[in-house]
């Protein structure tokens, strides 16, 4: 168990590296392409954090891509069709995804284990087909040429500049994604260490016992699933703004599977698990790019080996303090 001072120092270093160290490093080396990779990792980590919460109540969620897609479309449609400020669409996309997940979650959260996993697995495909079919989503052509985020001003003071007028919008998107990711993980940390987290892990360990102590397990499961989908939705919304487009295939079943793998790889017992998992998986994939046709083979073997050797995730290696209540 690490002391609080060590933890706080570690956190400060992480924040400094992400917000100052990385931009300085990239500025010095001129590798501006890394911004995009890191931005993407931040967004994928947010979505993975959502999946991690459903793991925390004992459900394997392979459907996060559906909510990311919903969030991306909600933001794109609000911005392009209704002229709503992008900044406002971030929470709206999250809330809409959460609302959808409540309707889907009420019936399917009664299922456990592989049955829940199977139902969630098809949901991304359902979302993709819906995006193709619905009149408002512009079908297979997708929503393109989305405007860049506008400025935020408060009492004439510009808090966030107009992304379209920036010299380096890639840096702006990077900072935006990293800051939102940090907020999400801070929220997740608080959740896990509050009574809500204790009740979530009670669900994971024994739903009948939790019910017998008076916990409304159906309600709590839906809450957890809605929080999970909220995170998927806001990740999708920011993704749409960065790529300035969204297509039915922006998030696919393969993405949903990756969100789940990120959690597994990082460690289900650690709040930072989904972040570490996403980083390693995504960077590992890009590093293997040079191995050309062997990329997928090496990647797959490495993944299997990692899961065999480190069943509790990469973070079990560092000995970061477990949440103390996570899965075994």
């Amino acid at each position: 168990m690490m002391s609080n001072t060590v933890k706080a120092t570690g956190l400060l270093v992480l924040v400094l590296v992400l917000l100052a160290g990385v931009p300085l490093g990239i500025g010095a080396t001129g590798r501006y392409d890394i911004y995009y990779t890191l931005t993407l990792i931040s967004l994928l980590a947010i979505a993975s954090a959502g999946v991690w919460i459903t793991f925390y109540i004992g459900r394997i969620n392979i459907g996060q891509g559906a909510y990311a897609l919903i969030g991306a479309y909600v933001s794109a449609i609000l911005v392009a069709t209704y002229g709503v400020s992008f900044w406002l669409t971030i929470p709206l996309a999250g809330l809409f995804a959460a609302l959808v997940s409540v309707f889907i979650g009420v019936p399917i959260l009664r299922l456990r284990g592989v049955y829940f996993a199977m139902v969630t697995l098809v949901s991304t495909e359902v979302a993709r087909l819906s995006a193709l079919a619905l009149p408002i989503t512009n079908g297979a052509k997708g929503m393109v040429n989305l405007p860049l985020p506008g400025p935020i001003s408060l009492f004439g003071l510009t808090l966030v500049p107009d992304f379209g007028k920036l010299e380096n919008p890639r840096l702006a998107f990077y900072l935006l994604s990293v800051i939102i990711m940090l907020i999400c993980f801070a929220g997740l940390y608080r959740l896990v260490h509050s009574r809500l987290g204790l009740l979530f892990s009670a669900l994971q360990q024994n739903e009948e016992l939790a019910a017998s102590t008076g916990v409304n397990i159906a309600y709590l499961r839906v809450i957890a699933y809605a929080i999970s989908s909220f995170l998927g939705g806001i990740a999708g919304a920011i993704f749409a703004a960065i790529s300035q487009s969204v297509y039915p295939s922006s998030f696919t079943t393969a993405d949903s599977i990756n969100f789940m793998l990120n959690c597994f790889l990082g460690g289900l017992g650690y709040v930072l698990g989904p972040l570490v998992g996403t980083f390693v998986l995504r960077f590992g994939w890009e590093l293997l790019f040079q191995t050309a046709q062997y990329q997928l083979l090496i990647y797959a073997v490495a993944l299997i080996a990692l899961m065999l050797v480190l069943p509790n995730g990469l973070l079990s290696l560092v000995g970061v303090r477990r949440t103390g209540r996570g899965s075994k």
Partner: protein, 260 residues
């Protein structure tokens, strides 16, 4: 005689062609310890599930404090004060012993879930209260030294005590104990018998299902005997020990099993 607290009224549960519980009726009186006994497959566990409303009766009803509770969701029944523990060691394995109890204090919450997340003053006072109450229950059951141990590492006897402690954390009016002495040696059983008596002395009415006849005879105010889903006898331990239908049901093993 104290007032009737919980009435089991012509309760029946069928699973397909099998009648697990068949037209069983009896009363549970305030602050008594009532044991339900019977050979394997007599329907004892099903009866418990029916009372705690984990399964729905085919016919009949359970009334608690004048209100029908059968068919309601288990957490609603728990909220009203009828709480069951489980066979074997059913606990939250990944938590410490103390966290098990803190989690189980849900019914005492005044703060909302969001309040707990935000850490409002109501939530903080709730949490302080849960902690104090958990510590008191741990001391009462002799688990204080193990408070911060992972629950999964406890030996069998302590696991049962923890199961009872989780039940007590809900501040129940009726506690249903499912085989609380199973798998215990003589000393552990005697210790557990005293614990259950202590639970009753706290004002909790106790109903238990148990196979350990000497313990049942020692602990019970009254006993209900089931056989093939039907109630065949009801009475004090002395009455049950001399009841011919009961002896018949346990025929051949009465000497050892009924403890005569």
């Amino acid at each position: 005689m104290s007032a009737s607290l919980l009435q089991i009224d012509h309760l029946t549960k069928r699973y397909g062609g099998l009648v697990a519980v068949n037209d069983v009726s009896f009363d549970l009186r305030e602050r008594e310890i009532l044991s339900v006994i019977g050979p394997n497959g007599a329907g004892k566990s099903t009866l418990f599930k029916l009372i705690a409303s984990f399964v729905r009766p085919t016919a009949g009803k359970v009334t608690f404090n004048g209100e029908a509770i059968s068919g309601r969701a288990p957490h609603v029944v728990a909220r009203k004060g009828v709480v069951r523990t489980f066979q074997e060691a059913t606990i939250f394995k990944g938590m410490t012993v103390r966290d098990n109890l803190i989690a189980a204090h849900h019914l005492m919450s005044r703060a909302s879930l969001f309040g707990f997340y935000a850490g409002t003053s109501v939530a903080r006072s709730d949490e302080a209260k849960f902690g104090a109450s958990a510590d008191e229950i741990l001391a009462f059951l002799g688990l204080t030294d193990l408070a911060n141990e992972p629950a999964s590492t406890l030996p069998q006897g302590h696991l049962r005590a923890l199961g009872i402690a989780i039940g007590l954390s809900t501040n129940p009016k009726v506690l249903l104990l499912d085989e609380p002495f199973a798998g215990m040696n003589h000393d552990e059983t005697m210790h557990a018998v005293n614990l259950v008596k202590g639970v009753r002395d706290r004002g909790v009415t106790v109903m238990l299902v148990e196979h350990d006849m000497p313990a049942v005879m020692k602990i019970s105010d009254r006993i209900v005997v089931l056989n093939f889903g039907q109630k065949i006898a009801e009475g004090t331990p002395a009455e049950i020990q001399s009841n011919e239908r009961v002896i018949e049901a346990y025929l051949g093993v009465e000497d050892e099993t009924i403890g005569m």
